[in-house]
């Protein structure tokens, strides 16, 4: 490609030159912030549109650009993306990909993330999209920047750029051994390059920085307590806010008396419709003021845990998308001819994300301009929520997302940001709101509960011939079977949910995979086949086969038979481009005194591995987190109230629950990298359940399984 094909603009003070491209750089005063240098912008192309294949929540596509990359006069590289770091290590792995294509050391890169005034619009960090979509975008930009640097050097030396090489932040001419550092090339320049075509990217097989176990970016900040999380942010003259909560869900406020609270020194009480909150000079006074408010609520009768699944089955949510119905052949007909049939129900409970850092926000108004520091997976989504709440333009709102105390899908929404902003507006001072653990357990949203019904038929030789799978409420993710079954009927049924529900790591793929892989185990038992053998007999998907075989080999599957004290189980699945197989060993003490997951071997494949250390950490974390929903986590509720909103009542996995974990990574450098934050969680529950069955003959079909109770009951 020659330089005429590449629009190159001289940008003076971020002025109107960007108009032909529909960019909005002037709004962000971009080069003012950055000074001179080389700025590369990636515009969306039709390729992205096709790949995304879904609407972007009101933004059909990013209007301007997908990402920005800037090389300063000192050679420092800043990459701007709307993705956020929540512990999944994306700050590190994206920087590795950029370093790779740009041919600079990892340390030369600074990632600017999740600040809506500085980064391009992004729909959010969820759905395992950062690596497969943002990864290639950043690589494309970095490769374009590298090509441009080669051209700049070629122009200065009057040689063909193709004869030059780029490595270690410099361009060299192998014929003369002269070099320019990137900084020397960009010094004094104010260049903008617009990229829309895909550059040729470095094949993963040739990666030197990507694909290696680079340590977490800024790791030292985290072990010294210097990193500022959203809840650590402080502003001059900042007040502390707290918000009055209803006595239950869907409650209406009958009366409220705030007079006692208003008498407390320095306290500002804000009432606005159903919102009642306080701002105070310190946190303890804010809580005192809240306690001093007398409120009467009317809480309507509402469904409880008891009867939840019957409620969901009989209360379809007609307004919501019912998802795909997947039909092949005729299940009814095939079932008639099946030698072996199995029909069962499975359930999963509502569970809480319980990120260790609860929702937090600091809001500050300057006239009509609002700045909010908050922990969210959707900075632009929260910006829009704030704009809507305060009837201002989105451009007047800046949301800044410091790397936060995680989310697991639980921090998509902007409640806390709105609360802090409402109080700050009334108090005319910055206000911080940090939710209590009880608030986080009550007023956030939950991983959906759900009922799954499966019936399946097989021939005597173990060949599956019919598979019917219905999911009520929990979701359509990973609902289709990866096994080759000629007759299928698979349907998601949206239902009314008594509790507020939303995204969660892996979302419904945990539930659907738990049900399917438990049922597969049941089929193997019915046929009298080894569970792994039955799976492989019905599995054409080579990538899923490969992880099953890898996990089985490492685990030593089949070498030792299950006993009443030790059970071995296997399960696997695929979703969002990740392939997982899990082998579990459970240990059962007599009389059900203790049921413990002793050892887990999990094989994982998600294409080319960008950072094996970070990936292992994610997969291990998913396994450990999965133990909670598998064995004991569940939200208990009655009549609009959460009954266990404390860590003392809602048990999360701890050190003593943690098994030996071995992760086998299959690095497929010939395949594109998929996201790996979520799907690693889906194998644990069915593998553990199948292991408990292998030991005890008890099939646990409800998550959490609370296996001690079940085993104790059977053993009497």
């Amino acid at each position: 490609m020659n330089s005429q094909d590449r629009p190159m603009l001289e940008l003076a003070d971020g002025a109107s030159h960007d108009q032909p491209y529909g960019l909005q750089l002037d709004r962000r005063n971009f080069l003012k912030v950055l000074g001179g240098g080389l700025l590369v912008c990636l515009t969306p192309t039709s390729a992205w549109t096709q790949e995304s294949g879904r609407s972007f929540g009101g933004h059909e596509l990013p209007k301007d650009v997908g990402a920005w990359l800037h090389i300063a006069a000192d050679g420092q590289v800043k990459v701007f993306t709307g993705k956020v770091e929540v512990g999944q290590n994306i700050r590190t792995s994206l920087a590795q990909l950029v370093a790779e294509e740009l041919r600079v050391p990892f340390d030369a890169i600074t990632m600017v993330m999740g600040d809506t005034d500085l980064v391009p619009w992004d729909m959010g960090t969820f759905g395992s999209r950062s690596t497969p979509t943002m990864g290639p975008q950043l690589r494309t930009m970095a490769a374009a920047a590298r090509e441009m640097l080669l051209e700049m050097a070629g122009q200065r030396w009057h040689v063909e750029p193709a004869s030059l090489t780029a490595a270690d932040s410099r361009v060299s001419d192998p014929n003369t051994s002269r070099t320019f550092t990137y900084g020397e090339l960009t010094r004094g320049e104010k260049l903008v390059k617009i990229v829309s075509a895909k550059e040729s990217l470095t094949p993963a097989a040739e990666w030197k920085t990507a694909g290696t176990a680079v340590h977490k970016a800024e790791g030292r900040e985290f072990v010294t307590g210097k990193h500022k999380y959203p809840s650590d942010i402080a502003r001059p003259e900042m007040l502390f806010g707290a918000v009055l909560r209803p006595d239950g869900f869907n409650a209406t406020l009958e009366s409220v008396d705030t007079s006692a609270a208003e008498k407390l020194p320095g306290v500002k009480v804000v009432r606005d419709g159903e919102f009642t909150g306080v701002a105070a000079p310190d946190a303890i006074t804010a809580q005192d003021a809240l306690s001093a408010i007398q409120a009467k609520w009317k809480v309507p009768e509402q469904p409880s845990n008891k009867g939840l699944f019957e409620y969901m089955k009989s209360n379809p949510e007609t307004g919501r998308d019912q998802g795909l119905q997947h039909v092949a052949g005729s299940v009814a007909q095939a079932m008639e001819g099946a030698d072996l049939k199995l029909e069962e129900q499975y359930t999963v409970a509502y569970i809480a994300h319980a990120p260790l850092e609860p929702r937090a926000a600091v809001a500050e108004w300057e006239g009509d301009k609002l700045t909010v520091w908050t922990g969210t997976q959707r900075p632009f989504g929260v910006r829009d929520e704030l704009a809507q709440a305060f009837h201002i333009a989105p451009e007047q709102v800046r949301v800044i997302q410091p790397d936060m105390g995680s989310g697991y899908g639980g921090k998509h929404t902007g409640e806390t940001a709105i609360e802090a902003a409402r109080l700050a507006r009334a108090a005319s001072k910055p206000v911080k709101v940090v939710w209590t653990r009880q608030e986080e357990f009550t007023w956030a949203y939950f991983r959906p509960a759900g009922l799954i019904e499966i019936r399946a038929g097989a021939q005597r030789d173990g060949k599956l011939i019919a598979w019917e799978h219905h999911n009520y409420n929990s979701g359509p993710s990973a609902i289709t079977t990866p096994y080759a079954v000629p007759n299928q009927l698979i349907q998601y049924h949206a239902a009314k949910s008594p509790l507020r529900q939303g995204s969660y790591r892996g979302l419904a793929s945990t539930a659907n995979n738990f049900a399917r892989e438990s049922h597969m185990d049941g089929m193997a038992h019915a046929v009298g086949m080894d569970p792994l053998e039955l799976r492989l007999k019905n599995l054409d998907d080579a990538r899923l086969r490969a992880v099953f075989e890898a996990a089985a080999e490492k685990f030593g599957w089949g070498r030792v038979k299950s006993t009443p004290e030790h059970g071995f189980g296997i399960a696997g699945g695929t979703e969002k481009g990740g392939y997982v197989a899990t082998c579990a060993e459970v240990e059962i003490e007599p009389a059900g005194k203790k049921v413990r997951i002793r050892r887990i071997v999990q094989a994982w494949e998600s294409g080319a591995v960008v950072n094996p250390d970070g990936l292992r950490n994610q997969i291990m974390g998913a396994i450990v987190q999965g133990i909670g929903g598998t064995l004991f986590e569940q939200i208990l509720f009655a009549n609009g109230r959460i009954l266990n909103p404390h860590f003392a009542q809602y048990r999360v996995p701890r050190f003593s629950d943690t098994p030996m974990v071995e992760v086998v990574l299959l690095d497929r450098r010939d395949l594109p990298s998929a996201g790996a934050g979520e799907t690693g969680i889906v194998g644990l529950a069915p593998a553990a359940s199948n292991a408990i069955f292998a030991a005890t003959g008890i099939r646990l079909r409800n998550m959490p399984m609370t296996p001690r109770d079940a085993v104790a009951k059977k053993q009497g």
């Binding site: 303890i284 260790l356 050190f655």
Partner: protein, 159 residues
């Protein structure tokens, strides 16, 4: 309101607070020492762990009045002359964190453990650390980090 002098990380800090305000709240909200984290406020998660006279203590369960006569060490006070403590170094080397929000509590709990027991068994580590929650599930690496810290500490003592 009372006036208190807190001995934190070798420095005396004056602070005015109600006597029943927690040490955690005073440090985070009045002294801007935010390395110590709020996780539950109920002594259930360990995110707010600090050393009080050398022993791991949940700062959400201690009032400022109780803390006033003790020596307090927080995550900000472990690094000495730019050198990380063995436990900090071990957490960094093992990559024993994901979001890192539990890390300061974990590091202080482990620091306290390695002062009490110079060579703890795995069971002793698990028992000591079981009150600290890592919601990201990094426990296996944290275990390895504590073992590595023990080795680093032993090496340091030999020198």
């Amino acid at each position: 309101m009372g006036n208190y002098v807190l001995h934190i990380n070798g420095t005396q800090l004056r602070v005015s607070a109600p006597p029943d305000e927690t040490l955690l709240s005073v440090m985070r909200n009045r002294l801007n020492l935010t390395g110590t984290k709020y996780g539950c406020g109920e002594g259930q998660c360990g995110a707010c762990t600090v050393l009080l006279d050398g022993r791991a203590t949940r700062s959400c369960m201690v009032s400022v009045a109780q803390a006033a006569n003790t020596k307090i060490v927080t995550i900000e006070g472990l690094e000495q002359n730019g050198k990380l403590s063995p436990v900090q170094q071990a957490f960094l080397d093992e990559g024993a964190f994901q979001c890192g929000y539990c890390t300061s509590g974990m590091i202080l709990r482990a620091t306290s453990l390695l002062r009490e027991l110079h060579n703890p068994s795995e069971e002793q580590i698990v028992e000591a650390m079981d009150g600290n929650v890592c919601r990201c599930g990094t426990y296996p690496r944290i275990l390895e980090a504590v073992k590595r810290a023990q080795r680093l500490q032993a090496q340091g003592a030999k020198r």
